[in-house]
Amino acid sequence: MSEKNNIDQKKDRIDHIENVLASVAAGDIDARINSDIEDDLSGIEAAIDLLIDDLTDELKQREKMQKEVEDKLVKIQEQQKVIFQQQSDLLELSSPVSKVWDNVLILPVIGTLDSQRTQVMMENLLEKIVETGCTIAILDITGVPTVDTQVANHLLKTVTSARLLGAECIISGISPAIAQTIVHLGIDLSSIKTKATLQDAMIYAMKQNKRSENVKLQSLFTDYDKREE
């Protein structure tokens, strides 16, 4: 009799364990077996309780970490947005083309050149040449610390494109370091007019201007002479 009772009681306890496990699995992390009877089953009960405790701790920690990661992600995304904005601002700011004299454009380049920047620079310069009708453009690279093959190539392309439009492009302010790298890299700049300083380039531009004006005046005079005859 007492044995049967004992078995029934154990059955009840196992049912209880099953219920608790089911509710934990369903998400109720506060469910515990909490048995106060001391016998062979109580060890298993205590162990299960302990496991559930561990599981809850783990879950809580994971939630916390996930939240932290999400916060950080939002922060990084915001920073990225700012960086992109600044980059595009910089691109716009970094290549001003200004007309400094009749027929003369100047493009001062400051800072390190990358291909994207050189591309924007080149487009700006060519657009401006067509817009203003200036035939001389000075590319001043005094403010450029170093160049590599790609950048030198881009500079060459800019000068050649300007020539195709019908303008002359002069490069000024090539530093000793850049001169060394260009020669070491084996880039041939001999087809390009280079001047030591912006001043020299300006003087050259003025002379070119004067030359074409003189020719114009001369042709006017010869026309006049012919008419007089």
């Binding site: 060519l126 067509v130 009708g133 392309k157 195709l164 439009l165 074409s212």
Partner: protein, 130 residues
């Protein structure tokens, strides 16, 4: 067929010592070849000393047209006529340079006026040398 070709001819105008060619339609390869021989014939017929080719309307120039233009410049040079290409668009210039067609030996000018000045200057220099 003949009629159709006639319709698509690009006019070549003679002013003084120069020929003016204004390309105002999309160039395709056949038209380009036709134009090339047309211009060379006209140089022979009129004895022109310079040719101005206005490509300001062309939005796109492929490698074939680019080669045709630079080829024409050297052909005309042998026939004692200077070719000036006038009014190239920035995008076209960039494309040509990217294609590696830097057209050495071809003169270029920003617009028709400047191109004309250039040719006049060159003629005068030649006169001066004499």
């Amino acid at each position: 067929m003949n009629n159709e070709m006639h319709e698509k001819r690009i006019p070549i105008i003679k002013i003084g010592n120069f020929l003016i060619v204004s390309i105002q339609v999309d160039m395709h390869d056949k038209l380009a070849i036709q134009l090339q021989s047309q211009i060379l014939e006209e140089i022979e017929k009129t004895g022109a000393k310079g040719v101005l080719i206005d490509i300001s309307v062309l939005e796109m120039v492929d490698s074939f047209i680019g080669r045709m233009l630079s080829g024409m410049a050297s052909m005309a040079a042998i026939m004692d006529a200077a070719v000036v290409i006038v009014g190239m668009q920035p995008a076209v210039a960039i494309t040509l340079v990217e294609l590696g067609l830097e057209m050495p030996g071809v003169d270029t000018a920003l617009n028709m006026e400047k191109g004309m000045e250039m040719l006049e200057r060159r003629l005068e220099e030649e006169d001066y040398e004499l």
